[in-house]
Symmetry: C2
Amino acid sequence: MAIEINKEFIEQIEILIKNQDDTAILKLLDDEHHADIAEILDLLNLDEATYIIKLLDSEKTAEILMEIDEDTREKVLKKLSAKEIAEELEELDTDDAADIIAELPEHRQQRVIAHIEDEEHVADIKELLTYDDDTAGSIMAKELVKVNENWTIPRCVKEMRAQAEEVTRVHSIYVINDEEQLIGRLSLKDLLIAPARGNISKIVRPKVDSVNVNENVEEVAKIMQKYDLEAIPVVDDNMILLGRITIDDIVDVIKEEAEKDYQMAAGLTEDVEADDSIFELVKGRLPWLILGLLGSLGAVTIMQNFQGLMSNPEDRALFFFTPLIAAVAGNVGVQSSAIIVQGLANDIIKGSFLKRMIKEISISVINGLILSFIIIAFGVVAQYKLIFTIAVSISLISVIIIASLIGTFVPLILDKRGIDPALATGPFITTSNDIFGILIYFMIAKLILGI
Amino acid sequence: MAIEINKEFIEQIEILIKNQDDTAILKLLDDEHHADIAEILDLLNLDEATYIIKLLDSEKTAEILMEIDEDTREKVLKKLSAKEIAEELEELDTDDAADIIAELPEHRQQRVIAHIEDEEHVADIKELLTYDDDTAGSIMAKELVKVNENWTIPRCVKEMRAQAEEVTRVHSIYVINDEEQLIGRLSLKDLLIAPARGNISKIVRPKVDSVNVNENVEEVAKIMQKYDLEAIPVVDDNMILLGRITIDDIVDVIKEEAEKDYQMAAGLTEDVEADDSIFELVKGRLPWLILGLLGSLGAVTIMQNFQGLMSNPEDRALFFFTPLIAAVAGNVGVQSSAIIVQGLANDIIKGSFLKRMIKEISISVINGLILSFIIIAFGVVAQYKLIFTIAVSISLISVIIIASLIGTFVPLILDKRGIDPALATGPFITTSNDIFGILIYFMIAKLILGI
């Protein structure tokens, strides 16, 4: 927060790079936080960014690499040698180092790992790379502070001091037995307040939350939020302590999850961003547009089948209301599904299917009646026959009921089958509701108008 | 995670409450985490939940109250006397206590505060209640550990031990001068590794991030995420240390923000949840439905004006495509606005308006051409004249361009004016795109078909 990153500042840096004035660049960036430097690099072009990465200390650049935009990182890494990358990785915690290696093309991974000198670091990174995506193992770090249950308090303090040098942030000290099994924890506060001598068993807290290494990351996020934890130890099936997950990694999981749901609801494939290339943006948007178009062509076909109604000037007006029917059906469907998707994410979907169905129908009828009132009022002003707007209204209420039931139960069913319910939001539900909506609309309206 | 909260367990509790078997209830719940008990209470009815709150120790129930559903909490608090609530608040950190008081009706607030015995706690809570919603002050806690820059290390350790008793979690020890101004920080690790004697000035880290008490909470969330902070001190304009914000509060801010955007995109007013009453759910959904309906009635009116086209059997088919035009326009608009809203939230919207406009138009033309190809193929199968489907396609491309420009620039303009850009997503953009889309469609199609 010390510097303001604005156009002038970026221009200043660009000139310094052009003049290869390394001393001035180092002076300018020396005191800056790595997150600020990352922000600066994101605004420079690739050659300039690489120049700065090569210029700065690897202690600093390692952290910077973790913060810059993923696309930029990929390009910068291409410009660095395997040895240079290895030097960066030596500085990083195992979880970050494993993330960066996973981003490299396979043929480079081995060469980079071969250049890392610290053998324990290599073993840890290799272990982390074996865990499946989206498991606790894939986001945990091997760095943690652990003490043996049989140690004395002074020995603990001493060992802890040595270990803490390696660990960026110490939340808890984990207590293990001789089999390396997690049996309790200590807080730093406990240790500070503890008596000067004696065995640590006196101050160990035997209750310690932990997660299995194969637990899904979203589940880990839920547990850490529920119990307000800042770090959680990760164990294997035999309770052997393997690593720990910290809250900052979980913040990323929560944000990604929310963004994923939002993008699905908006009809975007994942990971599309405003600053992506035109090609990537087309790729991110086209699939849902095509799906929507195919659905709408279904609706076109349905209307073709009802085109006989156009011969009668009075019935023609039914066609004016088709976008309205489709729009309301779409909106209702998205609302219903969004409520369910959010409810599932927060674990608040309770009660039976039947109860929920009755609730949805009640809401639909109330909303439908109010909307119908507006349509009938519009009909009076626009001089439609009353029976006509009543027919439109009754169809609309039926469409709303069906759309809200589809919107409610499709995500519930997907969830039961282990499919991400968020799939059911956005263009998918809008499109199916378009087709059903228009079909039901014409069928009911015909029935009522006796056509 | 010790117990499994299932139907059987809840029934067991219900029977124990019915029999007023307090000993058995206490034994059952004694070892449970407050977050688990909160989950249980959310599944009981109001009288049962209140029974348990009154039965358990206020040390435990205070934390439980913070975890249960807001609606349940409101009802439970109604059943407690001012004195009982005051006892709960004594156990809570100032930020949580202030949140609960703010939820009470005004006439109860004073009475509850009058019953709190700890005067410093009362003063802190009263101070917190003065800060505006959405400011750093409104989410900070007064509890923190601070030491004076002139103290010796042993005195720091001693004072810190005393203060730490009061503070749930110690992230940093803040260092202040005689004017109570924040001048640095110490980590617990520093203190544990520090030499046994000497002045703390030796080990103080003078660089400490802080936020102003009036800073917006979303901004605080961005800063804490950017710099990976687990706690941040809050200061006033004179750098006087007022409180601190911890990452768990920020996790809540991030989640709420994401949910708010999601709900707006789905056309829901804020805070609607699956388990709300029918009335609340109608209230949450109706406003956007009415807005959408009014927009669609605008589209109806436009089509009325083009009804002359229905006399010619060949031109009639134009009406079959109106829901398709409206759907594509809506989908494109939502995609564009969602990308911008998310980009703004992540601070990645860079470059000039003109560049962005050219990019959006390019994307629209590419997507439009591909969709047109599908429409023309459909036309061949469904035996439309080629000139007709070409006319529909050219109109569609124009509609896509306009819809994507509206979707891109409305949120950007709202954001520039300090209005939440997320307002521009969902039914709002869909509706305006419906109307524009259908108008442009008929105008261009008429022109091309020479009608």
